[in-house]
Amino acid sequence: MKDTILSFEDVKLIYHTVRGETVATEGLTFSVEEGEFVAIIGPSGCGKSTLLSLAAGLLTPSEGTVVRRGSVGYMLQRDELFPWRTIEKNLFLPLEVKKKLTPDAKRRARALAEKYGLGDFLQSYPAQLSGGMRQRAALIRTLAAEPDVLLLDEPFSALDYQTRLNVTQDVSEIIRSEGKTALLITHDISEAISLADRVIVLTGRPARVAHVHTLDFGAVTDPLRRRENGQFSGWFELLWKELNA
């Protein structure tokens, strides 16, 4: 039995505006185990990003509890690299913020960059990198702070199709080889199937868990291999139906 690293229990969140209140989610219960890659898909506008903010502790639930063991690292739709910082300085950003920028931490961040092909770009500025490389740098930045769980908020949606496939491949490889726990939020069904160990399907607002599927691709974790796998289209059809139910 692996340890639970993140769990939502009966979580309710109400959004307040002057015009009224919106229940974004209610009775939401799920958990993420250590080393697991979980994808959450839901109809658009069901408050998927809200869910990550709750997971990161940026929002407090109106009811219920969110239990987080360890630290989180956030990866957003856009790379959000700071254009006035070199790639190296961007990688150091979370360490600076957490006041953990020790020579040791710097060395680890640089080693990660070297390992995943960013070594030559450490002194470059983000504008000098391609979209795919920038998103890879954003992932390394997230990993540099050594988070216990990665929260991925549609990190591929801003990329063109070709780059998206490559970056998905990249991110999957890096996360798997670093043995990280990840929670991915996406509206892209095939992305969820190609990456995750487990897929959670949400209902429309207020969001709650509609279905949970453990994907049995065996040892196949490579996204492209999965796309070629015979089961892929079966999963796609099932999830598509569930999303549009």
Binding site: L58, Y74, E80, L93, V97, K98
Partner: protein, 270 residues
């Protein structure tokens, strides 16, 4: 530029065309100025215009030369330049500080917003009599005028820039556990650099307006004083001489900031 010989003929032609175009622009710019000066000079010499009303380039040159011989030229220039520079610096520092405070506290921002809007709309010259009574007739009054003319513009410009910090990057920093001060230091201030420079350009212009307006109301020296005095005694040579010097100084100050911009942006983006 070193590798010109490796470029294709078409690219060389393209570069040549660009150089010629640039040369044409500069020739026309300088030609326009010279042409206007010559036309101005000739029209007074040939009796098309009355130099008593229009002055002329040669009379302006003479006036400036005699101011120089009297030893008052640099005194007047220095007075105005000093008042403008001090007012400009004070408005910039004070304005940025207030903008930071307003960014920091949303409550303060909400409370002060209508006052800022009204102060911005208020013609500052209406405060002239108050300024004379409070600050007397020295340079202090003029510096104060310069500050209030520039201040609100600086506040509004910088506050807009601070508030425009990318929400995605704010979210990212917050997810890292950043404090408000860290968000300010690592994101808000660096991302406002371009706006800071464009604000400086606007503020320089406002400072000249402030200092000359101040000198119109109350002064014993300075270029604004020369213009008002020249007007009162109908010496349009003096009015236009001071105006020309003013135009030159304003241009120099603007170009200095453009130079600063080049340096800073170069540093920021390598």
């Amino acid at each position: 530029m070193k590798h010109t010989e490796t470029f294709s003929a078409e690219h060389r032609a393209f570069l040549k065309k660009r150089r010629l175009r640039l040369a044409l622009v500069w020739t026309l710019r300088i030609g326009l100025l010279l042409g206007l000066l010559i036309l101005w000079e000739l029209s007074t010499r040939l009796g098309w215009a009355d130099p008593f009303l229009t002055s002329s380039p040669s009379r302006i040159a003479q006036t400036i030369a005699s101011l120089y011989e009297e030893g008052t030229l640099f005194y007047h220039i220095g007075t105005t330049l000093w008042e403008t520079a001090v007012g400009f610096a004070a408005a910039t520092v004070l304005g940025c500080t207030v903008a930071l405070a307003l960014w920091w506290s949303d409550l303060l921002h909400r409370v002060l917003e209508p006052y800022i809007v009204v102060l911005n709309a208020l013609p500052k010259i209406a405060l002239g009599p108050l300024i004379i009574i409070w600050f007397g007739t020295g340079s202090e009054a003029i510096v104060f005028m310069t500050v209030i003319v520039g201040l609100i513009v600086v506040i509004m410009h910088m506050l807009t820039a601070f508030l425009a910090a990318d929400p995605g990057k704010v979210l990212l920093l917050r997810s890292m556990g950043a404090s408000k001060f860290q968000i300010l230091k690592k994101l808000v201030i660096p991302s406002s650099l371009a706006s800071f420079i464009s604000m400086l350009k606007v503020a320089v212009g406002m400072s000249w307006i402030g200092s000359i307006m101040g000198e119109y109301i109350v002064s014993r020296a300075g270029l604004g004083y020369l213009i008002v005095y020249g007007g009162q005694v109908f010496k349009l040579d003096l009015v236009l001489s001071a105006t020309c010097i003013l135009a030159l100084l304003a241009a120099v100050m603007y170009f200095l900031i453009a130079l600063l911009e080049k340096l800073l942006v170069k540093n920021a983006e390598s």
